[in-house]
Amino acid sequence: MKKLINDPEEVVREALEGVAAAYGDRLRVNFDPNYVVRADSPVQGKVGVLSGGGSGHEPMHGGFVGPGMLDAACPGAVFTSPTPDQMLAATQAIDGGAGVLHIVKNYTGDVMNFESAAELAIAEGAEVESVLIDDDVAVQDSTYTAGRRGVGATVLAEKIAGAAAEAGRPLGEVAGLARRVNEQARSMGMALTSCVVPHVGRATFELAEDEMEIGIGIHGEPGRQRVRLAPADAIVDLLLDPILTDLPFESGDRVLAFVNGMGGTPQIELEIAFRRVSQVLGDRGITIERNLIGSYITSLEMAGASITLLKLDDELVSLWDAPVDTPGLRWGA
């Protein structure tokens, strides 16, 4: 295992110390329980937006804390859902009297831990709404599974709900917007290589030189199928097809196209993938009105990419364009 770390067991704590040192003017890092919160929290009268999940997906979620996006994020151990005590403390830290939204990726662990936290917070008097993100079309037969996973739409929902909260909209509307993003977004990802979880110390799975995994999860969970390596255009087509047919996205639609790197894939390859996305959508009469290209939801150093399409309307566009000031996503501020 070749990593720029000290003790595999201390990765999350030390990274949080780095975050505290780097962004101390804007963010506060709490230890035991661990969470990252806007330095000016709670913002009185503003809905608090909280997310969280396993570490190893940086910049998600801690890198999205700041004005216009999240009020706080709870990092778990690497690839492991955080715990209710973190979520409870963070919920209370950002509760400015207008209620708190929990944005939860649909994984059994995240769901159960956030459920516990919401129960505890509500029992202590907070107003909490939860929105489940489950945009991953790689998961089929969702009645026989834990349901679709939350992947790329998470970033989009956090940005858009965060903008709505920043604009002073009430909890019900902020939650409704996050739900709308989730309903109008679909994603799928693939991996060229595995990643190595620090405290495990060896690759989560093995892929031969000529293989790739389609429909991979962001924790190195095996995907829909393992197939022969293909050129970028064919890979993009393979990911886009189920995304397009699922919602479906149709001629005349306006979309936000998000090409996400899994961590170990260079920007130049994401640009090549975006080229194909724009060709395919162009051919289908779908307009890419906004885009996001980069490594925003990662799986440590995994090589691979995911594609997310979000159907846009004027309200979503203006919330997407609203200023955001976080370490991981920043514009207009």
């Binding site: 492991t80 973190q86 059994t108 662990g109 159960m112 026989y144 599974t145 495990v200």
Partner: protein, 210 residues
């Protein structure tokens, strides 16, 4: 023998089997189950060390809360519910309960009910429930037969181990392994494996004093 011994044995065995559980989880999940469990039970033992002996319900509730705040993932809330369920049942057994087979059987029933309430898994879904339900049934039967706690827990541990092995051919319908669909068949469920370890540790903790 009591809860602290059970927890120490469980922690030791999870530390020993940490890699095996990680590997089982890597096959059909995300490879962290061993690390999660070892971290949680190490915290349980650390918080227990030096603490005075207490009502087992109080001890078990503390175990559940510690697991809830240190394990994370799916296993954290599930094992948290397990111990909190156990604690609630034992609380009802009075201020200084004699821990015999019937009391343990009632506690395990409440524990398994807690897990199922939280996770909504049924037997056959390829989860820890496939180890826990047979264990509960075996302990219930032993208690009804008037068996000793040690014998009852041994029967429960054996049933849990059998139940865990029987997850191998199953296709997962809950948790992360369910994303694999048919590809999850042919693998032992890591949570079922850790449940079997937990019950084997109980059989040993209470077996020695028989």
């Amino acid at each position: 023998m009591g809860v602290p011994d059970w927890m120490r044995m469980t922690a030791a065995v999870l530390e020993r089997d940490r890699d095996r559980l990680n590997r089982l989880d890597a096959d059909i999940g995300d490879g962290d189950h061993g690390a999660n469990m070892a971290r949680g039970f190490a915290a349980v033992v650390a918080r227990m060390d030096g603490a005075p002996e207490d009502h087992p319900a109080t001890e078990l509730r503390a175990v559940g809360m510690t697991l809830l705040s240190t394990v994370g993932g799916a296993a954290g809330p599930l094992y948290g519910s397990f111990f909190i369920g156990m604690a609630t049942a034992l609380r009802e057994a009075g201020p200084e309960p004699e821990l015999g087979a019937p009391e343990w059987a009632a506690a395990l029933s409440a524990a398994v009910a807690g897990v199922q309430r939280r996770g909504r898994a049924e037997p056959g879904d390829k989860t820890m429930v496939d180890a826990l339900v047979p264990a509960r049934e075996a302990l219930d039967a032993a208690a009804a037969d008037g068996a000793s706690l040690a014998d009852g827990l041994r029967a429960a541990a054996e049933a849990a181990e059998r139940g865990a092995l029987e997850t191998i051919p199953l296709v997962a319908r809950k948790g992360r392994a369910s994303y694999l669909g048919e590809r999850s068949a042919g693998h032992l469920d890591p949570g079922a494996a850790s449940s079997a370890l937990l019950l084997r540790a109980a059989a040993e903790a209470w077996g020695e004093t028989r």
